[in-house]
Symmetry: C2
Subunit: 575 residues, 2 copies
């Protein structure tokens, strides 16, 4: 059968039979040679038959437009946009990204391999190629209380899955460098596959030791010098341009200035929200921006096509050549680089096509399991000493650990911390395994008044995080999220102002991206109205306050964590 | 254990422990970025630990010299130099080639998988990395009488051998393009590995169909235009500079002239004899020559290092970076590119080191099995008509099919072809399976007088080929080779003037390259003295006269073969 198909295709390639579909009169980007060549592209059964002079049963006149291999996003997370994976992929595919190399790190932290299976399943039939890197750091640290532990043993079953390309971003550089057993079991399991890195700011020796551990890529470089240091250590640099982290300008300017060989570079988005994808684009934006900075267009296109294909061993992608998958992005011209059409496996991607959502397994919509939560436990006794306060900073996810006097009130003869316009309460409630763990802290700078805000998206363990200026509203917010099985909620003056349910693992909504957007565009302005400065995204900034790898101070279900000192305090008044 | 080693190496990489060996003060070629960087290279247990500022238990001061990843010969045959595989590898390794991707096509034609096992075994302990491509065309054609047939079924056992990188040069392009079942079984078996090509002169459609069959590389391009056509079809071009075929100038001049992206190019030698390796070098010669033609030195070095490593999936080679094998070639400077030293897995390669030869399995020294050979069967009855004569051409392996009157003598009332100064007899005797098959033809231009010359090296089937001006000497020559179990022999006036025994499959000598050279330098001048023009290598040119894929006329054990007409004649007097 397969041979029969080849014979048919061979006849087409040789011009002895008409091809199924021919893109006539194109300017074909040949990624292998970096050239633009005038010609027709013949396609059949979703693969490229030949580039040259062809006629087809169906002919599409490109009229000189640019036909380029579909783009590859070499590293991204699908969960952060709050919609189901298929929706994000569909949006980005319309911009020309036909291949996604995703790390389902968030899903794995909640639901382990079931979460990974969900991502695989939901992206199986989308009009794009979705590959998965096995999350390497679940849980992210030894002090995390997440839903699952992903050991090398559990990963083994995925080794032969052709959609699993390797090990996901290895954030825990110290475990690599220090030769931690369980980390090296994972590295060893994927020794013949790609192992993505995540290691900004390592010193020269540590970076060498990290590369020596087998790490192949990094998408965390924020400047040209560090990117080059990684490339010189044999790593591939995935230049990131996402919603929050935008590193392209710094790195590409360096490349242009130094006439750097670009073969060690690819593009990625890491995290990019649907609104921004719709507004400015996806990997096509990386290309466009790089070209605007002076990078030759053929180099930029290679970084979006053949280079990631080579890096991840995707020999059937990244090139318009016989036998490669017919994934194309068609541009108007080389100046404007506007995407006119996109094809996946020879089929045109229909703009904003309505697709029936694949159902989510019921267990994944039932992941919020909280025990022993009560208003009583939110109370913070005030011993009269100074407290460690989480000082939040606008436009940043790092915090400052400030130790200072905080306000209090007396109730039944006891002193308790009491919010005012400067200080509010923040708490994290373990929500995976009914452990009853819960940490309470004091926050400054977030400014919420007359209410509370809570989220079940809270990196990386995704417990319930809540902040508020009164315990009643905080309780209401937490109970709402227990009730909705995850989501974002905003409570104002004793009433729920709005809730965006995120039932899928407490991370994503399957109500569609329009509904998600509608809810956010009602809740976010209200949050700012309630005192949260414009320099914060009320929910996204909050979602990083429990992440114990970011300086300087965090709140976790185990207490207050001082990152740089690696020290856990039972409450903010401890020393 | 492995983790213990990593921990030790990590300490060295971080500068917390001294490295085993440090190459101090080098100019390090970083193939991943195409840069030359000043620094030290730390090595331990045969792998690179780091590039930077290191101190070691042993320190080698490079004093600014260039340290570059060891070179990769992306395609070669080991048999053609007549010595055992280890000897050729050792010679070439001294020139900086530390990785060899070999196609044991000749050995497989004689001894099948035993021949391949021999190559694998003989090259296991050499100071270089030797990988094998599984010969794809054994026998080369359906009219060949060789020793073995190598089907996909027989290849299966080699799939998981980490030294087998893929399928060897697929010379039979028509079988690919026409969808021949047994060819596609082989292509399919190696679908996830590299499949080397061999297809000069295909038209555009045929080339597309060939690439569509899954062919990844070609080393047969003789000009820039065809090389680019192959690269545009997604193939990697292996630029060949060997003993006979020298394509580098034509291709590299085109690259330089057109400022072509060089990432689709590698270097190879295909066939290069020891004398020439010693005289001009190996892959280092390709590099040097390319640079002399104007190719930037970093581009030439990438074509010899990281590009073939990428093409063949050798992720541990081709780069001086943490975790890569410590294969280095050290140059005096970037102008002269003289190789000063070579290291394989951190060990210095000792020049002309005497090594004990690995024994050859007895069965492989017993491969000449001839039945029914006699002087009587050499006779060619002359029917009085014109004959198809093999017109040999100096400096070429193609021949002309000339039909003309040829001389005769009468014996016992019958007319037989009789040699004179213009026409001699040529015969091929099947020597693998006692089939008794034997073809006799007439040759012109070779000019041998008063004797005969015979060889068991005769592409691709390696039967015994003999040419002479009298039957007695021809018989003596053939019998000598049956007696020695293969070799080159020269008979003059009824006496054996000299024989070079090639006992290993009738292809190679294990007497050492000095002995081979001594024998050749005695026999070759004598052959010229006996009338063979200087434009022929008496043995090498002869070895192509039975190869039925080269125009226009050949002699085979089945008779005279007219290549372009695909027609076999029982004898030269047939029409």
């Amino acid at each position: 059968m397969e041979l029969e198909v080849y014979r048919k295709h061979s006849q087409m390639a040789r011009g002895l039979a008409k091809a199924e579909k021919v893109f006539k009169n194109g300017t074909v980007f040949i990624s292998n040679t970096g050239e633009f060549v005038k010609g027709d592209v013949a396609v059949s059964d979703g693969i490229v038959i030949g580039v040259g002079n062809y006629s087809g049963l169906e002919e599409i006149d490109l009229d000189g437009k640019i036909i380029c291999p579909g783009f590859i996003d070499s590293h991204l997370h699908l969960e952060s946009t709050l919609v189901t994976p298929g929706e994000l992929v569909r949006q980005a595919a319309q911009c020309g990204t036909t291949t996604f190399i995703v790390d389902p790190h968030e899903s794995a932290n909640v639901s382990g391999t079931d979460g990974i299976d969900y991502i695989l399943d939901q992206t199986e039939d989308v009009p794009a190629n979705v590959y998965v890197m096995m999350p390497s750091c679940v849980p992210a640290t030894h002090i995390d209380d997440n839903g699952c532990t992903l050991s090398a043993g559990k990963m083994k079953a995925y080794l032969d899955n052709p959609r699993i390309l390797g090990l996901g971003e290895v954030m825990d550089a110290p475990s690599v460098i220090n030769g931690n057993i369980s980390m090296h079991e994972k590295l060893n399991l994927f020794r013949n596959k790609v192992k993505d890195g995540h290691a900004p700011f390592l010193g020269a020796g540590d970076l060498a030791a990290y590369a020596l551990g087998g790490i192949n890529t990094d998408h965390e470089c924020v400047d040209y010098e560090y990117a080059m240091a990684e490339a010189r250590n044999g790593m591939q640099v995935l230049i990131r341009e996402g919603s929050a982290a935008r590193n392209l300008d710094a790195i590409v300017k360096g490349i242009v200035e130094h006439h750097t060989d670009t073969s060690a570079f690819c593009f990625c988005t890491d995290d990019k929200h649907i609104e921004e994808i719709r507004r400015e684009g996806h990997i096509n934006y990386n290309v466009k921006r790089a070209v605007s900075l002076g990078l030759p267009v053929e180099k930029a296109l290679q970084m979006a096509t053949i280079q990631p294909a080579r890096c991840y061993g995707l020999t059937h992608l990244g090139m318009i050549a016989p036998g490669r998958q017919a994934d194309f992005v068609i541009f108007d011209n080389l100046m404007d680089l506007n995407v006119v059409d996109v094809y996946h496996a020879g089929k045109k991607i229909i703009r904003d096509e309505k697709i029936e959502l694949k159902p989510c397994p019921p267990a994944l919509k039932n992941t919020v399991h909280v025990s022993g939560f009560s208003e009583e436990r939110l109370k913070l006794k005030h011993p009269g000493t100074k407290a460690h306060v989480i000082q939040m900073l606008e436009h940043q996810i790092v915090t400052k650990d400030v130790v200072e006097e905080v306000p209090w009130k007396e109730t039944d003869g006891k002193r308790y911390f009491a919010s005012d316009e400067n200080y509010q309460k923040i708490a994290v409630i373990e929500r995976h395994k009914n452990t009853g763990k819960m940490g309470v802290g004091i926050v400054k700078g977030y400014g919420i008044r007359n209410g509370a805000i809570a989220s079940s998206v809270s990196h990386d363990s995704h417990n319930i995080i809540v902040v508020g200026d009164n315990d009643q509203d905080m309780v209401l917010a937490v109970k709402e999220l227990i009730h909705t099985q995850g989501g974002y909620t905003l409570v104002n003056n004793g009433k729920i102002y709005g809730t965006l349910p995120l039932q899928v693992m407490g991370l994503m909504s399957d109500a569609g991206y329009e509904n998600v957007n509608a809810a956010l565009s009602r809740m976010i302005p209200k949050a700012h109205e309630m005192g949260i400065p414009e320099g914060f995204d009320p929910f996204i900034t909050l979602s990083f306050m429990a992440l114990p790898v970011i300086p300087e101070i965090r709140v976790t279900p185990r207490g207050i964590y001082l990152t740089s000192q690696d020290r856990m305090l039972a409450n903010p008044f401890h020393n």
